[in-house]
């Protein structure tokens, strides 16, 4: 019997319609855990570097994590992986919601799609019965709307449906996959789904998920539960409200937006508005938000409730989470919050990423102001004074790939290349061709520098987390913070935090110094990678301060659930293995040191020498060579000799000694 995992993958060849239930090799779980880890292995084995994002051979994998379907709170992530049309690297945007546990109960750990369907289809997975069904009548339907239409058509109110909207159908590079209150947004999974002509994947399951040592697992969860209750009633003092709790950012609950509106940049990631949050704005925005929110809602098996059902006057109902209420408004320089609640409904039905899309629209507006795009490109667009109308118009063009929208639909990097004429300067907020959060700061931060530059995720919100974003001003505050900090992998992290000052010698950019910075970043990445393998919500482990899950309790949970004996080092080794495999996959696609760069203007004060030192120190710490390629030695330690062979064969790893 397999524990925690099911032991079967569902292989669907869309060209032939062949559907197979394939037993997975248990050794893969030993090596790569599950979720992202075991998916990366599939991509490595089956998708050679020559395969382009829209080639038949690009696999699209929907994966559960190892703990999905167990009683582990917040283990509900679906990891969607594919070679991204935008970055051309292996992307893995995740979604919460309800889909992954349902898939496990249907009897599968992953659904692997290969090739393309000749016409629009949706997939219906009902335990052992799997069908490819006609979806031509759903073409053009909204990504949320179609979820209910499919449930109706199947007469299955409990089916969980992941779907694309118009943006995915039209292969927009920022197209998302939407599911209940969640979405898999970054880097264009919706475009790959659309390219394969899959409108939706519906799933319903009623089989058991087994636990190896269930009673022990529940005892461990009892402790986790206690800690969740403790953290929910004890927010961390001395940090912004939004950072004080657990779960994903409580953007539906909190109305105080001083931090985002004044700290983040407006427009095309350009300007901070330092005195924006006046009493008047606060009053108006709080009123709008309270009108809009009908109910707080959670994902599967999670006691937090980061999402909300939105019922705004004149807008069809939908569900919202996180920061999307602000992204469009801030990018459009619109000072009211109504606009956010209105446009997000439209954007979500279209199925677009709420982080990168507003930046693309703002980029277009800037290009017009600069005379690079012309009135002709904007023919039919509402006048400049109507900032809201202009954004909606641009969004409609983008998802339909109409006129200038066809170019914008590829994201700022590719659009700028096509437009030329100096447009590249305006695609200024990208890393590895992907739009980043609109943050522009003063002083280089060594930790953020490394996270931004190097992570396979290519999106900072899903890299940072366990280490505070800024030092506490007073020593007493730091002492208070480290006193109860069971999440640290080692006591020395506490010492480092105690020393960290807002100003002076022990402050950014020189503190934490490169070796320390490498270790801190390694810790945060490791926790993220564990989440990605287990299917845990980052909000309960890697993406918040003092989370319920951490390196000191996860090994026991994994052991009790799966029956494998995994200690801290072993757990770390497993995710390190998949991280290195992931990196090697990307290296084969041409990614090197030269690509590991935060946007030029991310910080005003840059330190080229220090940055080089940071990168080199971190690479050395990770066991990568000067170019950021894993060395044979490191690969050998991780039982990845086959990867070293391949890298050498391809001439990517030249220095045999590393």
């Amino acid at each position: 019997m397999r524990y925690a995992e099911i032991g079967y993958y569902l292989e669907i060849d869309l060209a032939t319609g062949n559907i197979e239930k394939v037993e997975s090799d248990p050794e893969l779980t030993e090596l790569y855990l599950g979720g992202l880890g075991t998916s990366v292995k599939q991509h490595w084995d089956r998708v050679p570097p020559e395969v382009k994002p829209f080639d038949d051979e690009n696999l699209l994998i929907f994966s559960t994590g190892l703990l999905n379907g167990t009683p582990a709170f917040s283990a509900n992530r679906t990891v969607v992986s594919f070679v991204s049309p935008q970055s051309e690297l292996l992307a893995y945007p995740m979604m919460g919601g309800f889909w992954s546990a349902e898939l496990k109960h249907a009897g599968y750990d992953k659904v692997i799609f290969s090739n393309k369907s000749p016409d629009w289809v949706y997939i219906w997975i009902n335990n052992d019965k799997v069908e490819i069904r006609d979806a031509r009548h759903f073409k053009g339907k909204g990504s949320l709307e179609v979820q209910d239409l499919i449930r109706e058509e199947l007469n299955e109110p409990n089916a969980q449906v992941a779907a694309i909207g118009l943006a995915g159908e039209n292969r927009c590079f920022t197209a998302s996959i939407e599911q209940s209150r969640s979405s898999s947004s970054r880097l264009g999974g919706g475009a790959i789904m659309g390219d394969k002509k899959i409108k939706a994947v519906a799933v319903r399951g009623s089989k058991d998920v087994h636990l190896a040592r269930g009673a022990e697992f529940m005892e461990l969860m009892e402790e986790v539960k206690k800690y969740i209750n403790f953290r929910n009633s004890n927010p961390i003092p001395g940090v912004m409200t939004i950072l004080s709790g657990i779960g994903s950012p409580q953007e539906m609950l909190h109305t105080d937006e001083k931090w985002h509106t004044e700290g983040f940049a407006w427009g095309n990631a350009r300007k901070r508005r330092k005195n924006f949050w006046t009493e008047e704005i606060e009053k108006a925005w709080t009123g709008t938000q309270n009108t809009a929110i009908k109910r707080f809602i959670s994902c599967y098996n999670c006691p937090q409730q980061c999402g909300a059902l939105i019922d705004y006057p004149g807008v069809p109902r939908y569900m919202m989470k996180c920061f999307s209420k602000l992204t469009y408004g801030m990018a459009a320089y619109v000072d009211n919050l109504e606009f956010g609640f209105k446009i997000v409904q439209r954007a979500q039905e279209y199925g677009v990423d709420a982080f990168s899309t507003p930046q693309i629209l703002a980029f277009a507006v800037e290009l017009k102001d600069a005379g690079i795009l012309t009135d002709k490109d904007f023919e039919g667009c509402p006048p400049d004074e109507d900032k809201e109308g202009r954004f909606v118009w641009l969004l409609d063009r983008l998802v339909n790939r109409e006129g200038i929208g066809d170019i914008l639909a590829d994201g700022t990097y590719w659009a700028a290349k096509r437009i030329g004429n100096g447009a590249e300067e305006f695609a200024h907020n990208n890393i590895k061709k992907h739009e980043q959060l609109p943050i522009k700061l003063g002083m280089l931060d060594p930790l953020y520098y490394l996270m931004y530059a190097t992570n396979e995720k290519i999106s900072i919100t899903q890299i940072e987390g366990n280490w505070p974003q800024a030092p506490f001003p007073k020593r007493e505050q730091r002492e208070q913070f480290v006193k109860e900090w069971p999440q640290v992998p080692d006591e020395r992290f506490k010492e480092w935090l105690l020393e960290w000052e807002p100003r002076g010698e022990k402050s950014i950019p020189h503190y934490p110094p490169p070796p320390m910075a490498s270790e801190i970043v390694d810790w945060m990445e490791m926790i993220h990678n564990i989440d990605d393998a287990l299917g845990l919500c980052a909000g309960m482990a890697s993406f918040c301060l003092k989370p319920p899950y951490h390196i000191n309790n996860l090994p026991q949970l994994v052991s009790a659930a799966t029956g494998m004996d995994v200690d801290r080092d072993e757990l770390k080794r497993k995710v390190n293995r998949s991280r290195n495999l992931h990196r090697a996959f990307n290296n084969c696609r041409g990614m090197t040191r030269a690509d590991e760069k935060p946007p030029e203007d991310h910080w005003r004060h840059r330190f080229p020498e220090l940055e080089e030192e940071l990168l080199s120190t971190y690479y050395a710490f990770k066991g990568w060579n000067h170019d950021g390629i894993p060395t044979r030695e490191r690969l050998h330690e991780l039982d990845l000799d086959y990867v070293a062979d391949e890298l050498e064969k391809r001439g990517i790893l030249k220095d045999v000694q590393g």
Partner: protein, 179 residues
């Protein structure tokens, strides 16, 4: 007539607070697995959260009695502007639906208030306090032989009304013959 003390176990459901996480279903199914906590399967849970997200419906319902036949009449309730699906509030394991049945055998499931635990598992694992457990003492009339006889009489009479005295006698005779 003498009265006896009885404990009534009650779970209060504040459905307005439910966030739809289904943690209660998971806990219930794990608790009732054989051996205890060896598996999870919400389809086997004795509590189900009826969900219609865009209609703002999240309704935890507990499994009650088994019924061999579905009701001839149905109800559709609208409360507070929300229309609930047919049979939404019914606790029965009924032929009209899959709910509250073992997925493989089809045997009916019934909430047993987690017999033997100090607090029902669904209550324990609902961290948003939608489910609140309470015990209440009530004094009830001790059931006497006379009362049981009376109950039997009422029951038989209703059957006789429905099927006619002759058919009822026939059925009793057949039952006797089988024994």
């Amino acid at each position: 007539m003498s009265k006896v003390k009885k404990i009534v176990k009650n779970i209060r459901v504040d459905a307005d607070k439910c966030n739809g996480c289904r943690g209660c279903e998971i806990a219930c199914s794990a608790f009732h697995a054989e051996p205890k906590y060896s598996s999870v399967n919400p389809a086997r849970s004795r509590i189900r959260v009826l969900t219609n997200r865009l209609k703002d419906i999240w309704l935890p319902v507990f499994a009650g009695e088994y019924t061999p036949t579905e009701c001839a009449g149905r109800d559709i309730y609208t409360i507070d502007g929300k229309e609930y699906e047919e049979c939404a509030f019914c606790r029965a394991a009924c032929p009209s639906r899959d709910m509250f049945k073992e997925p493989d055998s089809g045997l009916p499931l019934r909430c047993d208030m987690c017999e033997g635990e100090d607090e029902p598992l669904c209550v324990k694992w609902c961290l948003t306090n939608v489910l609140v457990y309470e015990e209440r003492e009530v004094w009830v009339e001790e059931e006497t032989e006379e009362m049981k006889q009376e109950e039997l009489h009422v029951g038989l009479e209703s059957l006789a009304d429905k099927y006619g005295r002759d058919k009822l006698m026939d059925a009793v005779a057949r039952m006797n013959a089988k024994d």
